[in-house]
Symmetry: D2
Subunit: 338 residues, 4 copies
């Protein structure tokens, strides 16, 4: 950590600041320049509060040199993490596709879609029971009944299930869920993240609409710090100035995350696109960029979907897409799960 002092900072106060740092077991490198003086802090700076240092009257600026996350940091954990769920692997060359409807709507819907996406090559079934909707007047999900229908579809097809949690008090109802999803709007719901750190299920953590990659990794750190090491990161498009598409898929997040962390990284092209016709090119790009999986919305009848119909593939479209993606996963030398 680098602390830049104000010009003409009183010597006495600078010495006090240095003593304060030394009291935290940090070594100080003092660098006196012409227009500014710099302190280099050496030691375990992860617990130094940058805001507090900035509040000191002699400090002009503070910059972090090392990343503020540890458990998620590839520097301290060079091997890729492989998350294994019900015999399916994600990460380190294992590639998995999660597919299913935006929201669980009925038993026939779930049975039909689950059987179809399994046949097409999906490794996991997704479906929302609790839906975070911008409008209080939109369909909010079947809730407990939705979880029940997911379990039934899992029993019928053998596909492990992925569904979104909204609050830590729902955890008891998620015992039959195989991967718990944290949605983009809850990426910094820290009480939820802490609770997930103490549960024994893999967590699929989606990046918030306007959250930095560092913030995503800090949210992963909440879960890892609690003892739960099975975290899958998911990029799903970010919010920018562009208005002609719903979100901008941040494809560079794949190589950046792969460099910064050992955790698996998947892409959700459906939410990034907000339409069906962009899912194929974005999925291709995701595989080529090095993603460990995809999460794709599939519905038996998109135009009657209670949620996200505009971005849901129908079952045939998904089957066709999977044909193409299988070739691509093989081309990259990865192993498709399912």
């Amino acid at each position: 950590m680098i602390v830049i002092l104000k010009p003409q900072a009183p010597e006495q106060k600078v010495q006090q600041l240095i003593r304060d740092f030394e009291a935290q077991d940090l070594k100080i490198h003092f660098s006196q320049g012409e227009s500014s003086t710099i302190l280099g802090l050496v030691g375990d700076v992860a617990h130094v509060d940058m805001e507090q240092v900035l509040a000191n009257e002699v400090v002009a600026d503070v910059r972090r040199i090392s990343e503020p996350y540890k458990a998620a940091n590839r520097r301290f954990h060079p091997q890729d993490t492989v998350v294994e769920v019900c015999g399916r692997k994600i990460g380190a060359g294992y590639f998995a596709v999660i597919a299913g409807p935006c929201s669980v709507e009925s038993q026939p819907q779930m049975e039909t879609v689950a059987a179809s996406v399994k046949a097409s090559g999906a490794a996991f079934l997704r479906g929302g029971a609790f839906k975070p909707r911008t409008s209080p007047y939109s369909f909010q999900g079947l809730e407990a009944e939705g979880l029940h229908l997911l379990s039934a579809a899992k029993k019928a097809t053998g596909l492990p299930i992925v569904t979104e949690i909204m609050s830590e008090d729902q955890l008891d109802d998620f015992t039959d869920v195989d991967i718990i999803q944290v949605g983009a709007r809850n990426m910094q719901n820290f009480r939820l993240l802490k609770a997930l750190g103490h549960c024994d299920k893999p967590v699929l953590l989606k990046r918030g609409l306007a959250n930095t990659i560092e913030e995503l990794l800090m949210s992963a750190e909440y879960i890892l710090a609690g003892g739960n090491e099975r975290v899958i990161l998911c990029e799903r498009g970010i919010r920018t100035f562009e208005t002609c598409i719903r979100n901008n898929l941040d494809i560079s997040a794949v190589p950046v995350l792969k460099r910064q962390t050992h955790l698996p990284v998947i892409i959700d092209p459906s939410h990034a696109a907000g339409n069906t016709w962009m899912i194929e090119p974005l999925s291709r790009a995701a595989i080529a960029a090095g993603a460990d999986g995809l999460m794709i919305e599939v519905h038996n009848n998109p135009k009657e979907a209670l949620c996200d119909g505009a971005q849901s593939l129908d079952m045939q479209q998904f089957a066709d897409l999977m044909q193409d993606l299988k070739r691509r996963v093989a081309f990259e030398g990865r192993e498709l799960q399912g």
Copy 2:
């Protein structure tokens, strides 16, 4: 609502779509253009799911003409809402300042700050008991003990208290809190919003870092739709490409919100700035632009603050600021509460 059809859409499918709309009690205006055909939907379109319409194969695009929020909409509620709490009013010419430390740290701290900000002219005392921190290694707040210290400071000074809630399961512990704050990261925590819709306390709803004004109003709508009419909106800076400041205070949010909704609007210059020296000019701008109040971080010893020290005024700085702001509130013909 306007539905733009694809060129060469099959007549039969268009007729089916029209019948579907009519079955929802909507009247259809049909406008046949050269390069596109447009359907104008007339009636109560608030419950029409745009995504579902978009998913229809003959539909090229859908545009909303009217706002998707009703209870928050000034069109249906022209008079300004005045939120009254413990005899203090906010809105419609009543201006209130909320002040206090980022986080509750100790009894002497709260007593000292509360007495000081009251003497300087604050109408409410703020302080965080539960702190949403980006890092799991940062101070997370005193929690229950923090709420207790807030209550003690309220008893000692008579200042009503404002503090942040993190999850709906904390509501039972907030009985002595006068205004419940929803932080920027929880603006779309819909379960929390629903729970607050059914409580009898005013809610201070902060705009998310990258949420649109429409999304802010939709989140307010969640609370209003539950029956709680006492919602105060708070702009606290948005996330943009600019890196030399922490957030960009969206000053235009004040006139836009004043036009779109009847709810009071306050500004948090402390979080927007991320430093102390910008609080004064941003506060001045907020008053001039028409805000109904300010929320400002004040600490008895900013450089020892456990949270947000860099943006906390000390007590003397706040006293000086209030001297200037009083003149300005009077200049605008508003009535300072306190």
Copy 3:
């Protein structure tokens, strides 16, 4: 075009507005709703000034239904445009790589790099003679001498050359240039675009840092409207809130542009990344997403480069990258030029 009228707009003024539209040869569809009245304008609305309509006192809002660009619009020009330069083709399945240093620095540099990138499979040589630099104190390019060195390298290797123009008064000096590049900062330098519309050379038009896809196509429209039909679009990363990388490559721009326009689309991974290690994954993603080419910075000695050294591949890195990219272009069924 849809015109939404204000509620309670005086009948007389609405009738006047309708007559004004009819005087522009537009047919009006009138749609009277409960809370708003809508006019649908039918006819050639490309010349209707939305701002002027918005300024009318009875108008609440105006929305365009059709795109404001014509010559660039795939709707009116369904076949892919193939830009052919010195026997190399770009577009419609023909894939080309443009490579070379950020700035032209010396004769040995250009000779070395040109020979090397040609051997590796590049179809075009790039190099900047006039450099747009943020700082007036940075190296600004060799200018006329730079153009001369480019010509020499072209003569030596046979590689056609691509270089950036800064102002329309430089056009006379660009006679030996094969593709004229318009940089991101000049994307809306409309005088330059008009001048390029009247020249007989292909133009490589880069998207501005924070320009929408529609604005990019409107800038292309300036060139096309002048009679120059050889425009190549280039996505090179956009500016967002993310700070850990220099720009966010907008991979979705590829499918969106492919759908909206017939013009070829290439990707510049070097400027998007701002570093060397991301060039490979971004190039892979670009090919998979459907791009028609790549523009990559290559330098004989990146750490001595006068410009953009941090993002320049050395010649061996580029040779290795091309080996991989050739397999990928073939996998996609495209034909590599060079």
Copy 4:
């Protein structure tokens, strides 16, 4: 400047890097940490090319400590610059309003508007002769005839004139112009900036839609470095994710610029708002935040305006606005020019 070395960087290459810096007359402070080693460069680092340092294989990151601009930097020029034009002053307590139509349209229009805005209290007349329009099909300005009409209006009213330049080759035609405006889209047209650095007229430099404050100051630096010290900066709204308004006025740019530079700062509320009803609250906020002036679009008949009608005040609206603004400028203890 701080250079962060890669862990395990070979000692020999680090020593070479240090010798390279020393050869540039820089002193090096070496700070060996546990996980990283840092070099602090002391001396005149304005000419050190960060990109080149970053390209060195032993370097992990480079951070600037001091600002890259000098002539524009308040640190080296603590007194406020006052730009004086035809007896009107801007800066250091002198407040000026620039008003007039978006584009010059006709002699009667210019005469009418000029006389009216002068009577209302404007100090300068604005009007565009060359218009940068997104669409090639929009009105592009009267060009030479527009400059002529501006001169006539100046002669008739005595108001100095402000108009936008598009290219350095127009400079000869701008002899009668009093302040030359550089539009947002040309903020990084470096050839134009260089040419303006060598002219003897004040320059009004508008911030680009998505340019940082540092970039704005670097563009000012181009002009100052050429010897022209009369630069006025103008904030006119930035591009963000928000769609309900055209641009977000960055009010914090006022205090930030006032702190970083000695140059005067004005606000253009018309372009920020994109409508008329937000001009008043944004103007109020600008004055309160410390701006040195305003630039406001006024038209004799906004609904017939050839450009930007939706955001143009009519002459009576402007007269009313000025009545309010005069009180506010006086309240702030500033001196209105005119």
